[in-house]
């Protein structure tokens, strides 16, 4: 065990599973040259048949992944940035999400669609998407959004072993975060199981993807101010571990959901609505969402950064719920 980054975790998860199972292969644009470092050394290890550069044809290679999966392969489809999922939307929805169902279980689609949410670095509106809520609305897709290197390794390995299609949303704000990574070949984190990242009693802060790190920072500062926050990381967005979230909210009586997606119809909205439906009796205060403003992401760095969830906004929300007063200056 050695400390490794979130990007290393992606690389190691893929490498171990490709070693273990030769039905696993990976394809994507410029995957051989390997811009982000998630396939370093793969061509040497696995050759260019299993590590495959694609044309700029997202819908085409997404569908090719589906076809390969139907005949028994287990593709990992690297779509580079989440913004490039839109050209591939039809294959993801009409084919990948729906084929098993529409053919009455005859089709099996064991594949992983990876993409990076590359936001907060002046990439402007066409390159800064965090579109997982759209896919959550569609049955037939499992969705993971790991927030730590540890979770990434365990969840991505599980995803590659899954017999259902899984989308993996990688949060670039977590790229450099580090963990000790277990190297047991069968270390996996099962999909659908959330994680309490910090225990607390006054308020539950449910963090999505990179927002978990913000929630943890906020919880630390809140502790110094006498507020005990529990941080819950669902880790998998479809299916959501609602039992874990509800258990936490029943304990604290208060909930804040922090989600870097646009607010409307977000994961935060879904979690809030479900909490209200199922734990209304336990709520001592409204459920609040701390999300990205419902506008596009601008290029200019100062105005871009102000639009995402921040530690300050989380703290303000916690104070509002717990003390009924604005946050004290930390």
């Amino acid at each position: 065990m050695a400390k490794a980054t979130y990007l290393d975790a992606i690389r190691l998860a893929q490498q171990e599973e490709m070693m273990r199972d030769n039905r696993v292969f990976i394809m994507g644009e410029d995957i051989v040259c390997n811009v982000f470092g998630t396939t370093t050394g793969f061509v040497e290890l696995f050759g260019t048949e299993r590590v495959r550069d694609t044309p700029i044809s997202e819908n085409g290679f997404m569908g090719a992944g589906a076809g390969a999966a139907m005949v028994g392969m287990r593709p990992i489809i690297d779509t580079t940035l989440s913004s490039f999922l839109y050209p591939a939307m039809d294959q993801i929805i009409s084919i990948i999400a729906k084929s098993r169902y529409i053919y009455g279980g005859q089709a099996q689609l064991p594949l992983v669609i990876r993409s990076c949410m590359f936001y907060g670095n002046s990439n402007a509106a066409q390159h800064s998407d965090r579109p997982y809520p759209m896919f959550m609305n569609m049955p037939g897709l499992k969705i993971i959004a790991p927030s730590t290197a540890y979770d990434m390794k365990g969840l991505l390995k599980a995803a590659i072993r899954e017999n259902d299609p899984v989308m993996c949303f990688e949060d670039s704000t977590c790229w450099t975060s580090k963990d000790e990574l277990p190297d047991a070949p069968d270390f996996i984190i099962p999909l659908g199981k959330g994680d309490i990242k910090r225990e607390g009693s006054d308020v539950s802060i449910i963090g999505v993807a990179g927002a978990v790190q913000l929630a943890l920072k906020a919880a630390k500062q809140l502790a110094a101010q006498g507020i005990s926050a529990e941080v819950v990381d669902p880790r998998t967005l479809a299916p959501l571990d609602m039992p874990l979230i509800l258990q936490s909210v029943r304990k604290t009586g208060r909930a804040i959901i922090v989600d870097p997606a646009h607010q409307v119809c977000s994961a935060a909205s879904e979690i809030s609505a479900t909490i209200v439906e199922q734990a209304f009796d336990a709520l001592r205060a409204p459920v609040l969402r701390v999300t990205t403003a419902q506008t596009h992401m601008p290029f200019s760095p100062l105005i871009e950064k102000s639009l995402y969830p921040t530690v300050d906004r989380i703290m303000a929300a916690a104070h509002k719920l717990v003390t009924g007063r604005p946050a004290v200056d930390a």
Binding site: A64, V71, D90, S94, G104, Q106, K142
Partner: protein, 331 residues
Amino acid sequence: MTDRPNDHSLEKYRRMQRIRTFESEAEAIHAAGEIPGALHTYSGQEGSGVGCCMALRTDDYMVGTHRSHGHPIAKGAALRPLMAELLGKATGVCKGKGGSMHLSDFSVGSLGETSIVGSGVPVAAGAALGSKLQGVDRVTLCFFGDGATNEGAFHEGMNLAAIWKLPVVFVCENNGYAVSTPASVTVPVKDVAERAKAYGMPAVIVDGQDVDAVEAVVADAVLRARTGGGPTLVETKTYRYGEHAVNMGRILLDRGSELDEWRQRDPITLYRAKLIAQGVEAATLDAIEQEVVTEVADALEFARQSPYPDVTEAFDDVFVDRLPIPDYINS
């Protein structure tokens, strides 16, 4: 392919008859309200589907379209599960979840009759990629219409197959129309086959009403694919007798005498005449027709006797594991 009639020829005749008879029964019971949803018939195109599929091995793959009845029957699917599917029964080939637009029998190599136009092309390329990676010599054949060649998915799938030299045969069943729109209005080249040039892919045009000619051309393409020569685009010139779909009453194609002219070149009639000219007894062919009628009747009876799926089955097959059933669903 076959100059002298043999079992293979008779099987082609049988499969064309099966499609025709199955569909005329389906049309009748659709009109009577026994089949819900849309029904896109393949009548007129049997020479294309059967010629293609008879050039394939049983373990070769096939991807199709919304006009989904002909392809699985051509590939040899049993009729009972197909007819049960049309009626939305639990014994249907897709357990009643797909219906007429998705008659896909995976046991005969089908990888889906997908009703989103053009969406099968990348899937076929992917299946062929899978076979290539597995080192097996299975070929994938992909059916689509003239209209589908205007979709981006067609372009991307063709390109992938070309650059990776995948073992796939693309078959454009050019019936001249997409719903109400003539191909001439939306495809700016005379033949869809021209489009292969954008991918440096060999292409061939064949009379889709001549089942033997189709089989011969496709057999060549299959051989090329199987032996590492890469993909081919085959364009079968054919025609659908029906409207785009049987329940779309309002579409009145102004097709003048076109329909009559094509009926003169009916693939089944032509093949029957050819077989008889080659020495097959009319009685042999009549017997096949009779068997097919019985088979279709049996399939319909089976379908009618079959139960509808239980409501809880709506939560099956989304994933490998059944989804939890909401309270409001009472089985």
